[in-house]
Amino acid sequence: MGITEHVDRVDRRLSAHPVPLKERFQIWRQRYGETALLLSPLLLYMGLVFAVPILFQIAFGFYSRELYRGVLWRPVPDFTLENFARAFNPEEVYIDSLVWTVGVAFFTSALSISLSLPVAYFLARYNPFGKSLIELSFLLPVFGEIFTLFALAYAFAPQGPVNWLLMGLGLIQEPVRFIGSPLVVIIWMSVPTLSVLLIRSALVGVDVIYEEAAQTMGANAFQTFRKVTIPLAKRGIMGALLLSVSSGVGIFTLPLVLVGPYNNWLGNKIHREVTPFFNYPMASALGVILTAVSVIFLYLYLRTQEGGEDR
């Protein structure tokens, strides 16, 4: 028991006799004053730059709008569900975009995780040839998003290496136009990168004993992997999937630069509501929806992770 808890307990016993408010504040200041002072810059910054705009975004989502000077739609403090109704109206473009965003995030995450399973297992259990090179390569995205983005654009150019490879293998007859189509974003999202590291840490947690037992009983390598290893690492794998989907729905820069500003991802739709249309209430409502989707997947991820090691 720490000293703070002890003081708390004494406080509670004393509280039968009411302590004047001023004195209570002095006690609080003595105990937590320094901490509050240390935390105040961060709390102030996050409050002003993050919490206030987000709260206004939620509020604007429920505001109705009026045309201001014939240029932009200004939010008017008048409660309405119109923006959310429009967002989920099948005749408008938004629900289509939401389904596309979540669908692509889910599909590419599932694909990327399935592709990373064998290599993650291999890295978790064996000492492959060129191990340091392989492990180093997964840390390379330190160069930043812009770098990867341009490299992708050049790699998928009409006469770039990807088309060269596909034509060399005889899979296609003439170059595919990757840039400007959502294909390049989907391909890059499906390439197992970070998921290899996540899955590997999940597989390291599975004890080799179970696999050996299965093999002793006569199961072959594939059966062991499918029936023993995967079920035991299920929680880690599900966690990686949900985390990957959660970050995949918020994708913005990749489709913007590689597909162009008029693509179907919800992030870009939100931005289009702001920049050419100046429809702030609609942009806010869509922003709230996108954040909610992302947070739901993250919440599910946290649910898979709780419960500790005992299960």
Binding site: L38, F129, G144, I146, Y154, A214, T224
Partner: protein, 265 residues
């Protein structure tokens, strides 16, 4: 488990292939920057693209990027260092909650909160739209979790007894922090600063959405993409950008080499 040899070989080739995909961007950028058109296998080698970089507004926007990186780093260290200290050394109600709140900028899709900031500024502070201070505070937000966690990790591995000894000897808390704690956690703080700097100086999302009046280099390059498409000239600009930023970080490590003695050795 025991795997047949041919499966081991296949898996190893697969792993090396993935590593190749991850390394490919670096090779691709270098190849593209020394050719005059984007063709594979490369032909028409030329260094013409390097000349063009010099007479564009590239270095001006590079300067804006470096300023953006510098100011965000200073802001982040100034607010995250005390917060990380409080989170690691103090006990207070709501400590674990605050530890989770720190991660919110990573949990929320960055596009939505940057748009939220943009809309908020456009409606209530239209005069400040695209001004440098707004860009700095919006850009720095995304790096908060990383910076706080890095400093906190450095504090967690530092023994508290040295601070207690200094306090017992009669040093006041501020003096103890600057004379004892800060030198001990210097490697962590410098690492956090380099993370913050790379993150902010190469950031595209916040400056672009908030419509920076003076475009940082990432926005400047994207405007060229909109105008010209993906020409080899842009590969040169991206490479030069990376070299300058990584060079500054390397210089930082060399300057603070003394602090890192015993950390990496």
């Amino acid at each position: 488990m025991r795997l047949p040899r041919y499966i081991m070989v296949i898996l190893n080739i697969y792993a090396l292939m993935l590593a190749g995909i991850m390394i490919w961007p670096v090779i691709q950028m270098m190849l593209t920057s020394v050719t005059s058109d984007v063709v594979f296998p490369p032909r028409n080698f030329s260094l013409a693209a390097f000349e063009r970089v010099l007479w564009d507004g590239f270095f001006k926007s590079m300067g804006v990027s470096l300023q953006l990186g510098l100011w965000s780093t200073l802001l982040l260290i100034a607010i995250c260092l005390p917060a990380a200290y409080a989170l690691e050394r103090k006990r207070f109600p709501g400590r674990s909650l605050l530890g989770a709140v720190i991660f919110v900028p990573n949990i929320f899709p960055s596009i939505t909160y940057v748009i939220a900031i943009g809309v908020y500024v456009a409606i209530y502070f239209i005069g400040l739209r695209g001004e440098f201070p707004i860009i700095v505070v919006a850009t720095a937000m995304g790096a908060i979790p990383l910076v706080v966690r890095t400093i906190q990790g450095s504090l967690a591995t530092t023994d508290e007894v040295y601070e207690e000894a200094a306090l017992v000897m009669g040093a006041n808390p501020l003096r103890t922090f600057f004379k004892i704690t800060l030198p001990l956690i210097a490697p962590g703080v410098i690492t956090a600063a380099t993370i913050a700097f790379t993150f902010s100086a190469t950031n595209f999302l916040a400056p672009w959405i908030l419509g920076a009046k003076e475009p940082p280099v990432a926005v400047y390059i994207y405007r060229d993409v909109e105008r010209l498409g993906f020409t080899p000239q842009l590969a040169v600009q991206v490479l030069v950008m990376e070299f300058i930023i990584l060079g500054i970080i390397q210089a930082l490590y060399l300057i603070f080499r003394k602090q890192f003695r015993g950390v990496f050795a």
